[in-house]
């Protein structure tokens, strides 16, 4: 029995059929490179697929918001204030009569953007700092890490407020602020992983073979630190969305008419007893999005680990 046949039998076992994709089929779609093995493994993971579906739904809803919205998200109507969910306003309306469903569609765009872009900023700055600090060690490491200590000493949200105070209010500056606030998290995390990976014999072997430091960091060290970075990023997207909501609540983020989830949530706070839908739906949306990213992150962590991936 050859490998493909064996894997088919393994995966097609009774009760394990969902999602009923056969190994050979997946192999046919993705080939057999490292990343295709990751993709294949990810699609075999039930949790990861659910996470992907949730995130995919939110992404689609955000992209096609103009087509899916039933109302103008900014249009106020005093006659339809604080309506419960119904046929006119699917998810109800807020204290100014704006349609909650439409506002949330557009709000998803902003929240997703903030989450992803701020994480990209954090990774782009924090990972190189952590990698260099951990790989070279010595005085450079000590100095870098004391700066990181100072940044960690501030609560993330406070750090973000400082940055917004310097740059000015607005969604763009919130992304930069939450991104910078997550830099110390990545710098510390990556430094720790690099410290353990650089002691592995294969890094020594690479040095013995005369491979340059830059190539060792990018080809041998960082790929083996990927799993914690990815898992952290899922949490960080969620955190960024929450920070952004907090900043909006304080009036530093999304400005008044802009339909941002955190802002909708904090505005609805005053009507929690009379119009619970104003806090329930945005809260659930944030919860679902965070859940989706976490499920995906868990799946990716397994899929990225060649040992748990098997073959």
């Amino acid at each position: 029995m050859d490998t493909v046949e064996r894997m088919n039998n393994h995966y097609a076992g009774a009760g394990r059929g969902w999602p009923a994709l056969k190994y050979a089929q997946l192999r046919h779609w993705f080939g057999n490179s490292e990343w295709s093995q990751v993709a294949r493994h990810l699609l075999r993971n039930r949790g990861a697929v659910i996470g992907l579906v949730i995130i995919g739904t939110f992404v689609m809803a955000s992209v096609f918001a103009p087509y899916l919205a039933t109302h103008n998200p900014l249009e106020t109507s005093l006659t339809t204030r604080l309506m419960s969910p119904g046929s006119e306003h699917w998810l109800g309306s807020d204290e100014l009569g704006r349609d909650l469903y439409s506002r949330m569609l557009y709000g998803g765009r902003i929240s997703l953007n903030i989450g992803i872009i701020s994480v990209l900023i954090g990774v782009a700055i924090g990972v190189p700092i952590g990698a260099i600090s951990g790989y070279y060690g010595g005085k450079l490491d000590i100095i870098t890490q004391r700066f990181i200590d100072i940044m960690i000493a501030f609560p993330g949200i406070l750090l973000a407020i400082v940055v917004v105070a310097v740059l000015g209010v607005g969604v763009q500056n919130v992304m930069i602020a939450t991104g910078i606030a997550s830099v110390p998290v990545y710098a510390r995390l990556v430094r720790g992983s690099v410290l353990s990976v650089k002691e592995q014999s294969y890094v020594k072997a690479a040095r013995a073979a005369g491979i340059s430091d830059a190539a060792i960091i990018f080809r041998h060290v960082l790929p083996n630190c990927l799993a914690p970075i990815i898992v952290q990023s899922t949490f960080q997207i969620a955190t960024a969305i929450l920070w952004a909501a907090g900043l909006s609540f304080l009036g530093l983020g999304a400005q008044a008419p802009m339909p941002e989830w955190g802002r909708i949530l904090s505005q609805g706070r005053g009507f929690m007893r009379t119009a619970a839908h104003l806090t329930t739906f945005p809260g659930m949306a944030i919860l679902l999005m965070v859940l989706g990213f976490n499920l995906l992150g868990d799946g990716l962590r397994d899929a990225l680990d060649p040992k748990s991936r098997g073959r």
Binding site: N32, E34, Q200, S201, Y202, K204, A205, A206, R207, A208, A209, G210, I211, S212, A215, R219, H220, P223, N224, P306, K307, R311
Partner: protein, 356 residues
């Protein structure tokens, strides 16, 4: 068995003919600082390698033996400059390894390779073995693209693996196969000198002999010189040409294999050899049981570092550090029993002692 034995003999005679050492290690020291407190003040040093000198000759297998923690692996890594030496020098074919930079260092790296003890951590889990071998071929401009791919297959096949294995990840191999991959990777650069750092101690006993035979075959085929680090004296007896015994960071004896196994000079070597198990249960052996533990290399005893455990320790051993010196037969030992110290040195040492 007779055929490899003659090959060994031929090589041994070739060794004695050439006097030029491939690798000359002089007064090599590696101290690791012990740091304490928030300010990381250095409060002492672990003397992992303490003033070690030896030479390795072309085509031979120089075996470095000793118990764990005696500094044999550190020696191997320091002389490849994987760790920075505290003092001393290493010359490879006349070139100063510690002074080389840039292109010259890269050329040296190509000549000197290492095989690690644990094949499970010696391969990057995120790279196929083919990619790992191709990478180092490209770094040294030996081959690129399709050519590098074929070359990678070639060395894998030479090391007893299948050409198809280039596309596999390390976790898809068994321990013995991984060690073959590690050897293939070291071999890809066509080095002339390989440090084999306990290459078989992490492997199954049934696999060990295969790897040893592979190393021997490769040595014959490519004329390799080995520094073979091991704690297994029966393996060293099989593969080694000359043996160096380390104790607490110092070389205490160097000698040809035959003489060493027949009549070890240093009391520590004698104790080590008496501990080697013999396959015949009827042979009664006299075991020399050493009292106590290995002292800490951070705080080695004064004089001969072996004196607290030595059954023949004399007064002079506690005061005077024995130097590694040649005997009439061309062997080296660092022991006052072998080289009785002259009276002046003894007096000086005891005076220094009284001074404290």
């Amino acid at each position: 068995m007779s055929e490899p034995a003659t090959r060994k003999a031929e090589r041994a005679s070739a060794v004695s003919e050439s006097n030029e050492a491939v690798l000359a290690v002089r007064n090599l020291k590696k101290y690791f600082p012990i740091k304490t407190g928030v300010l990381s003040r250095v409060t002492g040093y672990v003397r992992a390698v303490d003033d070690v000198s030896f030479g390795i000759y072309p085509g031979e297998t120089f075996a470095l033996v000793g118990e764990s923690g005696c500094g044999k692996s550190t020696t191997g890594q320091v002389l490849l400059r994987l760790l920075l030496a505290t003092a001393g020098s290493v010359h490879f074919r006349g070139e100063d390894v510690f002074a080389a930079t840039g292109e010259r260092m890269r050329r040296l790296r190509k000549q000197m390779q290492i095989v690690f003890q644990d094949p499970y951590s010696a391969l990057n889990p995120r790279m196929t073995v083919g990619a790992a071998i191709r990478e180092i071929l490209q770094v040294h401009n030996i081959a690129r693209g399709e050519e590098a791919f074929e070359k990678a297959q070639e060395v894998l096949v030479r090391c007893g693996l299948d050409a198809q294995h280039v596309g596999r990840y390390p976790h898809e191999f068994s321990g013995g196969q991984r060690q073959r991959v590690v050897i293939a990777r070291a071999l890809a650069l066509e080095p002339s000198f390989i440090v084999a750092d306990e290459p078989i101690s992490a492997l199954d006993v049934s696999i060990q002999s295969q790897i040893i035979n592979l190393l021997e075959d490769l040595q014959d085929e490519f004329g390799l010189t080995y520094l073979f680090i091991s704690h297994d004296l029966s393996v060293v007896k099989h593969i080694g040409d000359r043996v160096g015994v380390m104790y607490l960071g110092k070389l205490v004896e160097i000698g040809g294999k035959r003489e060493f196994y027949h009549e070890p000079l240093h009391p520590y070597s004698q104790a080590l050899l008496s501990a080697v198990p013999v396959s015949d249960p009827l042979i009664k052996k006299k075991r020399i049981i050493l009292a106590g533990d290995v002292p800490s290399p951070a705080n080695p005893p004064p004089g001969c570092s072996f004196h607290p455990r030595c059954p023949y320790a004399m007064n002079v051993c506690m005061a005077l550090v024995p130097q590694l010196k040649p005997t009439e037969s061309g062997r080296y030992a660092a022991c006052h029993l072998v080289h009785p110290p002259d009276a002046d040195a003894v007096r000086e040492a005891s005076n220094r002692d009284a001074h404290y």
